[in-house]
Structures are given as C-alpha cells and as structure tokens.
Symmetry: D2
Subunit: 345 residues, 4 copies
C-alpha cells in the first residue's frame, strides 16, 4: 500500500481510453490538431471565462514556463519557503525566467503569510536599480502541506500584486483537489480572485503526463509558444497531451477523481485522529495527510509494506498522499495496521 | 494521404499495448521504477557497449540537454546550417547550454562539409579569451535532407573533435531510419565511430512521445539528472516514457518500423523518377524523399488531398516523409495520381 | 611603432585632465552625480534629438546590454559573419540576450549584403513557434574592415527592420571615425537613418575606458538600468565614466581625435599604394588600413619593431590601426621602412 | 559631510598618480601589458601563497564572476539574507551562475549563523535530482553590518564546505577594512582559513574602479577568462585597472587607507556612545557604524547638511560609513552637531 505520492498511481481508465481513441489516423503535428484546437474552448467553459491554454507534460514545465512569461531575469518572484518551485524544481524557475530571484516567505501550514509579503515589498525594491524588481507572486493550491487558500485569501494576494505592479501565478499541481476540497467554482478560485496564470495539474490526478498552463489574461501569453519550444516542451504529437486534458474535463472527470482522492484523505485523517498517540498536523483540505506517528511505529508500519514519506528529518511527521484510485478498503486496512502497532507498542 | 512528416502518424500498436501494460499497479515515481531501471541494460545490449540512458519526451529536449552536457555558455557548437538544432528548435540549444554559440557550417545534401569544419577550427579560437571555445560538433543522422553519414564519415568528424578537444553529438531523431538504411550496427554508427552522445529518437518512429539520450561516456552524463529536472523534463510517471522505449527495443521493433518507412520512401523515390518532368533531389537513404515537382502539378496534387511540405520558397522542391505505417498501396496511389496529373498537364 | 590596435594607446591628455578634475570632493554614487546627470543633455545636443544615455566601461558591455534590450531569448539578431559581436565577444550577446541566436550574414568589405538579410527574412520565421523570432539587426560602424555604411545604406537596413518588426542596433566602437570619415552629422548616421540604439565608443578614441549606450527611442531603455546592474556594469563611482564621456563631447574632442586617426590612415594607405608589390584591400574610410604585404617583407618589418596584426592565416593581409595619437612622422617612418624592405627583397 | 557610503569619495592621490603614470606610451591590450602581468606576483606576496588574480571594475562583477566559477545553473549558493549578493546586485549572481539559487540564511550582526547553514545542508539536497545542488557558501568580509568573521569563524564555514563538497567564496568589498580591523594577515583570513576565492575590493578603499578576483586554487579559475569576456568585463586598456591595484598594494597603501577609515569609525562610534539617547547597534570592527538616533534628531542633522543612510524603514537606525579620506575633524564636527541637537531636543 503506497501513500508516498499521487504520482505512484498510473492513469485512470478514461485517460487510457482517450489516448487509444486519439491514436486513430493521422493528425497535424505540433498542436494543429482537432484535440489541441478544442482546448481553449473546453477550459473556457470550465472556468467560465475566455482563456488561453497550453498543454505541457510536467508540472515543473508548467510552473517554470508560466513564471517565464511573468518575470524577467532581473525580476523577483515571491513564494512560500517550502513551495515546490523553491525546493523541488532544481532551479527550473530561475532557468526559465533567465535568472529571476525566488524570494522565500514564511507562513504556517504551507501558506504564505500575507504580512511577510507586505514586509518584503516594504523594502522598497521597486524602481531601484540595485534590487531585483518585484514581478510575481506564486501561490500553491493546494499547498505542499495539503491546505488550501480560500478565494478571499487568494484575493488578498491579488490585491498586493495589483498594488505593486506584479502578477499572480497559481501552482495548481493539485488544483483539482483544492476545488473539490472547498467546493467552490474554478472561476472563484482563480481569475475572479485575481489569478493571472494557473498551472492546471492533471498528472497527479490520473493522467499519464499532462498539465495545462491557463492564461486568464491572453496578453500575458504572447511569448508562450516560443518559450515552450525553446524549453523543448512542444510535443510533435501534441494530440496525445491534449486528448488527456480533454478527457479530464469531459463530464467533470477531473473533479470526480479529485473528490475520490480527497474523501480517502478525510477517511485517513479522521481514522488516525481516533488512534491514541497519533495526531494530524494540518487541517486536511485536499488529498494529503500529515500525521505525527512515533518513529518506531512508523518503522514497523513500513516494515509491513506500507509506504509513506517522512516529512521531518527526525522521522516524527509523515506525509500520506491519496491518489485518485485509492479505495476505502485501502485506507481502512492501513488504519487497522496503525491501531495494531500502536496497541503492540 | 499525408506525407508532411512522420509526426502526423500516431503510435504503433505495440507501443500502445506497452503503455497499457505499464499502467497496472503503483510504481515509484521519477524513474525509480522497474521499466526505467531496465533502460541502461536494454540499450547496452542494442549498442553492444555499456551506456547511460535518460528518457525524455521530445527530440528538442534530447538534443538541447545533451548539448548542455557538452558545451558551456562560452562554448561553440558546430552544426550544419540547415540542421534542426540551428533552424527548428527556437534557440533551445542556446538555452540549455546557457548561451553557447551555434556555428553554422555548409555542406551538400544536409551533411557538414568536413573542410568547412576544418576551416572554422583553423581560425584559432581555442584558448583565446575573445572567442567562444570549441566544445562540440553535432551531426544529424539521418540528415534533414534524408541522407546519412557513413561510419567512416562520422569517424572523420570524431577525429577532428578529438584533435580539438571537442565532443561529438549525434541528433538521431531518425537514427533508426539511418541504421536501417545503411544496414550497419548501431554501434558502428555511433561509439565505434567516435560519437559521445546520441539523441535516440522514437517518437517519429512510432512512439507517442519518447526519446532517449544515450551517453557512451558515462562521465559526460554527470550533470544530466539535474539538467533534466531544471529543464522541466523529469516525468513523475516516468514508467510511461521508459515503457515506450523498452517496447521499441523489444524484438527489434524500432528497426522493423524504420525498415517499413524506408521501404516506402524507396518505392516513392523509384516511382517518381520514372515519371517525366519529376526528379529526386538527394539520394534517398532513409525515409524522406525530396522531389522536384512543377509547382502547378504540386498544387493540383494538394487539391486532390495529398499533403506534403514545400521545401523551397518557390514551391519547386517538396518533402515527402514516410511514416512507419504508410503502406505500399498508399504510395502506389500517390504515384498514380502524380502520373495522371503530369499526363494532364 | 605599434599599429596593432587603437587599444594600444593610452588616454588623451584632455581625458586624464577630466578624470583628475572629477576627483575633487564627494559625489553621490551610482550615477546620481553632476557629471552623469549631464550626459543625456550633452548627447542630445550632439545628436540633435532627445536621447537616453547610459555609460559603461567596455564596448562588449555596450553591445551586449543594448542587444539585451532588443532581443528576447527566443529571438534572432542578424549580423555580419565577421562582426565583433559574432566573433570577438565570447558569446556576450548570447549571454545578455538570455540566449538569442546570432544569425550570421555575408557581405563584402565587412558590410552586410542587404540581399542576404532579405533572403534570411524570407525564410518565414516570424510568428512560427519553431524558429527564433527576428528581433534586431546589428550594423558595425565603422566595420571590422575599416569601411563605413553611408546614411542611405543604414536606412536600407532600417527599412527592412521596420517591415519585419525588428530594431536596428549600431555597434559604434569606431563611430567617431565613421562620422569623421564621411563628414556627416551624427544624427544623419543614426536616428535619422533609422538606428534605434547606438553603442558609442570612446575607449578606442582616446578614453581610458568609457562607452555610452545611446537610445534614440527612450521606451527601449525601460529595462536598461536593471540589466546593467545585473551585468555588474553599474559603477559605484560613476562620475569617472561620465566625466570621460563629457570631456569627449566637449568642444568636439571626439571628432578632433577621430580626424587625426583617420588622417594617419589615409596617409598610410596612400603611401602603401605607391609602393610596388603592396596593395590596400578595402577602401580606407576610417582609421584602419588592410594591406597586402608579402609575408617575408611583413616579417622583416616586424623584426624591425613594427607591430601589426596578420589578418589572414597565410600572413598575406595585415591590419594597421591608427590610434588618435599616431603622428605624421610615425606613419612616414613606417612607409620608409616598407619601401626599404621592398627594395631589398 | 557625507557618511552615506565609502563610494562617495573619489580616488586617493596615489591612485590618480598611478593612472597618470600608466598612461605613458603604448601597451598591449586585454591584459598582455606589464602592469597586468605583475598582478599575480604582487598578490602572491601579499597573501603569502601563489594565487591567480583577475582585475575587474566593479564589486558586483567580481562576486558574480567568482560565483560563476563555483556554481552551475543547477547549484545552490548559501549566503546571508542581508548580503550584498542577495539584496543589492539585481540578480547578478543568478545571471553569472546561469541561474543558481541563492539560499538565504539568517544570523545576527550580518554574519551567517553556522547552525542555520548546517540545518539547510541537513535537508539532504546533495545528489537528489529534485533539488539545487549545494555548490558554494559566500561570506561577506567585513559584513553589511560592519562586523567581521574571525579566522576561526571562517574556518568553521570552510569545514562545512569541505564536508559537503562545496567551495567557499569571500565577498571582500571591504576586505581591507576587515584585515585592518582584526590586525591579522591576509592569508590568515583567507586561504589559511579555507577560502577558495576572494573578491578583493579596492574601489571603496580609494581606487577609481578596480577589484581583483583572487583564486587560491588555480584550477577553479580555468574558465574565468572566458566568463569575464562573456560578461563584457575584459578591459581593452587593462593596464589602467591593473595599475590601480598595483598602486594599492605598493607599500601597503591598501591597509593604510583602511586603517584611516577604521579609525574614523572608531572615533565616531566612541563619540556617539557618549551621547545620551544615542547608541551603536553592532560592534564596530571595520569602517561602518550603525547608530540608533531618534528620527527627529536624525532629520535635524540631515537638515544641517550631514548625509547618512536610514537603515530601517522607521528611520531609527542609521548607517555611517567612513571613507579613507574622512578626517578626525570631520568626525569631531559631526559629533558636536549630534550633541547640540540632542541637547536641544
């Protein structure tokens, strides 16, 4: 039973079927195909506004290319100190922005403290040649801690962006889980709250490899085509990326899969909190659970074949991610094992 | 009937089957899966030497990442003036090398003239602070003109590289077609002839999206993992890239598909040469045919639904690419149409 | 007697005096000083139009920073194949443009053949995601061959730039010599002919180290301050750069020095052409002479202490650069020596 | 009376004299002159070890080029959160390292807390493809807060570097002040304590514009020449940079000037501490004093013509920098004025 990441799952059957269906016949390469041409319209319906959509294959590419459209090499991008773009992308954001600086900000539960952003902006870098120029804020939705920003919280950052001539990016590798977790509309969580560009994740949510960079302000996308090709991220057989994304949006599959994953995380969180000596660190608002389990018990669970990531060096806090295809029985089985090991301790 | 590119085809059935098979169960992410771990060994068998192999999804990524391992930002990479890395990758090689210069060289039939390379090296840039430092030569195999470099020709460039402290890269987007066309071993065409790094293409040859960067000198790959991630080219569900590559190597599928494509190009070339007023520009050694067809006849053929790229601005030379799944009847049908239109002219 | 470059000379006495004068008292750092604030106005008078001026210390910095304002990383900059930015700046233009491609063009006498530029633009790169996007043309004035572009010739390139959405840059490391050589106004040779940005050289013309990037369209300079600092080219004690430039413009010193240098080149060229077996390669329009002198005679001249650069690997063509402080006697002495050696041969 | 920075001073008379002396006659360009060839030897004497020395004109260039030799684009450089390379160089370090990440660390008095570095390294980034690879630590000597690292403190960081495969850089824009302040040998504070590369500042200490990048491990300098030229930092008339540096080392001028500046800072610090309601924030160990002066008094002092930088947004802490040419009377005059204003309050 593998809770290490949603990435350990394969693809949903609907996605495999879509790929097979798209494999019929010839199609123009590099995005000039029926599937790819459908993308803008399909996303515009889901987001209830006109948007420009570009498929890529990885979340890091989506984030880095999006930021490349927002920040020049002499720019500054503000992000949470534990965010994926800061910690887990091996400098891809610096690479694709031609060397912009990621300014790291603190905040509880994986969420940027707006006061910390205000303080950073208060240093007066804007317009002063010695300093990187404030260009963008990047929020992760859901965060690395499995928490979410509410529409109001997003709007607060958007307000700071507007007031300081910056753009607002959202890393939505688990955007589906956030939308499902809050039960709000995709629009409410993005452009209505002031988001300019969204990295819309599908891979973690049951695709093979597909993400969409969604621009709510088309003018920001002016250079995207060239940046994507320059980054080696233009697929020749683009239809296979686009078909995955279309299948995700078809009949709300993306939210259905996210709801399943979130429900398993709730089940896991509630179960763990009923067990003595075990606790849950942050509010579970998406498909991740961060649980404090004593190191020795965690090790015995691992020895029984359960897989999950230690989140702190002292092996006291652990991350559990529920993929779209985890079942109620999967989680129940794990909870039983925890109970047994705690009892035996 | 679409001859514009091998990219207009979908994936071979064996590749789709491999993808479906790999979709079973959970697997560690980011390359720590059974399929990915198999890659080095599988390629080492095919190339008859130990090699280090890294899957990526696009040919541009393969080329640019490979060159990034060979050339620093103050370096020079020598390539044919019509090569893909020079003309068709929107500065990806410059991007991934942190700004190296592509020095363009002439040569007939898409092949670098070795004398041009010697002359360029004779300028005495090496060791002089004013000039970009010669770092690599990149050969395209098969070339953009559908021709190939023989092992001896490759070795001639390798010799120049060795003598000037440079490395030799091979852009093998159509490497399978070159191997099949010459009926030589993969080893003879690469490391035995002095190639250091190969971009091994599978996408054009019947994969969804899969290329392998093959290092014949492992020490050159030291930074590849970090460069790949920094470029956003590390797949979380890597097994799906690796499974495509393994399926290609399985029972020689890659050469079988390439031989089919090449045979159709031969059929097309021979048929066209039998038609009055039509000629073929370069020796057909892989799966591409460049044919001189009068502009008016070409237009009438296009009006009948045949698709192929004009190769010169005056619409007198045209490119025909045979994908792995073109049939004898496809080509015969096109040849009939050409004969009819030439007759009617 | 050293004719290798105008760089072998020191600074003119007026420049040294200006530096000493500027050394009095304290002054705000980083350009907020009296000298630096004067620059825009002083250059605007000389160029008869409002311009924005930024001092830097090297010609390579001036060129690369100017191009960085004109071309993005996915852009293409068109330049002569023998130009300084292509051959002699160790990829600084690629570096400061974040990886733009320098597309090299041929042309006699160091001047781009406009037909070659037209042909390159005719490839249809603009707006196509596979190709670098045409962004700028860079002309060298005077060229590496000591020739000049007339205002009409410059305008022809400007016209191609306008028609293709590109900007026009002029590398004027020897701009003073070109203006003096043609006896035209600085305005006629730049913005009136369509130049957008000029690298105005002073170092070769008798400064210690000072160049000015002159923007004739202020909006193109919007990011210059940040790019200059990011490149490490913002001087803390900026007054010492600005004072050199102001001294150059004062009472036309820059043209006086350039006229002296040019006159010596004319004297040298005319003298050489009177000597049997010696000839001059290109029209001498600035301060450089390229002379065909038999290799054995050239070597004997070098053995007598005369210094000049071989321009071709076979040591048959040689470059002579006259710095501002070469005297009539200097040149006459050299001409005597050539006559003697030719006579002795 | 201007205490804003050591940059508001001009050059010391000895430096001006050296420049004038170097202006005699012709000299080979680009560093192949008598002055430049002397540099390695002159610095090797001062540092009591063989070193490779490269002159550049700005401190930002020195730092960024040095770091470019130490950290690849996928690397991480650890530095104090208030350091010049983090805050005041407009992303030059990111630019010259091709996009490395600056990881910011806290620490009192402008000095990195070694425990914070240990914690950062304890995250386990090394060898893991997701994370930037630890490449270098950069210490500022003297720090932005006017404090210094003792040789033992430097050695502690060197030890962490060695244990983690990293290099140690020292930003010595005010290195002279640190050496003078501690009265230790240049060797003790650098290579003997484990520093690999030093940015040796001369500009703030009384040069026009001259810094030296000093490599104590020559192999780290292998690419420096190309990086410097690529950055536009190779001076054609290099003798004028080198002559400034040689004059600084001549008869210990650099330490004499630094001692003068430090003595004025001591005088200022001691004087301020004797005034009621005024205090000094950090130990004064170089030529900077950070003084808490009530905002209203500070404003009145500024109205009387004294210039100094507010260091905190609330205008309660102020920076005073003593340049090499501040006199005892200058400082005494300011102290009198403070006393008067405090008395009047």
């Amino acid at each position: 039973m593998d809770f290490r990441s949603d990435n350990v799952a394969g693809a949903a059957p609907e996605i495999l079927a879509a790929l097979a269906a798209a494999n019929d016949g010839t199609a123009s390469a590099y995005g000039d195909d029926d599937w790819s041409r459908e993308l803008d319209a399909a996303f515009s319906v889901v987001f209830d506004t006109e948007c420009r959509v570009f498929p890529v294959a990885t979340g890091t590419a989506a984030n880095a290319l999006a930021l490349g459209c927002l920040a020049p090499g002499f720019g500054a991008v503000f992000a949470h100190q534990d965010s994926h773009i800061v910690v887990d992308e091996c400098n891809a954001p610096e690479f694709f922005t031609d060397g912009a600086k990621l300014v790291t900000l603190p905040g509880a539960g994986g969420k940027i403290d707006p006061a910390a952003l205000e303080a950073a902006l208060g240093q007066g870098w804007s317009g002063v040649q010695h300093h990187p120029q404030p260009a963008a804020v990047s929020l992760t939705q859901a965060t690395e801690s499995g928490t979410v920003y509410s529409p109001d919280e997003v709007a607060q950052f958007a307000h700071l962006c507007r007031a300081n001539g910056m753009h607002l990016h959202m890393d939505g590798a688990r955007f589906a889980n956030a939308v499902a977790g809050m039960n709000v509309s995709p629009a409410a969580l993005t452009w209505r709250a002031g988001v300019d560009v969204l990295s819309f994740g599908a891979t973690k949510n049951g695709a093979f490899a597909a993400e969409a960079v969604v621009f709510f302000k088309p003018e920001l996308a002016a250079s995207f085509l060239y940046r994507r090709k320059r980054g080696g991220h233009l697929f020749s057989k683009m239809r296979f990326l686009s078909a995955q994304l279309l299948a995700m949006l078809q009949d709300g599959l993306w939210l259905r899969l996210a709801r399943q994953a979130n429900a398993r995380a709730q089940q896991l969180s509630e179960g763990l909190q009923r067990i003595d000596g075990v606790s849950v660190a942050w509010l579970v608002q998406a498909n991740e659970v961060f649980a404090a389990i004593p190191a020795d018990i965690a090790e015995r669970l691992r020895a029984r074949g359960f897989r999950f990531h230690p989140w702190t060096p002292d092996n006291s806090l652990h991350r559990f991610v529920c993929a779209f295809n985890k079942t109620e029985d999967d989680v129940a089985g794990f909870l039983r094992a925890v109970t047994e090991e705690v009892g035996a301790a």
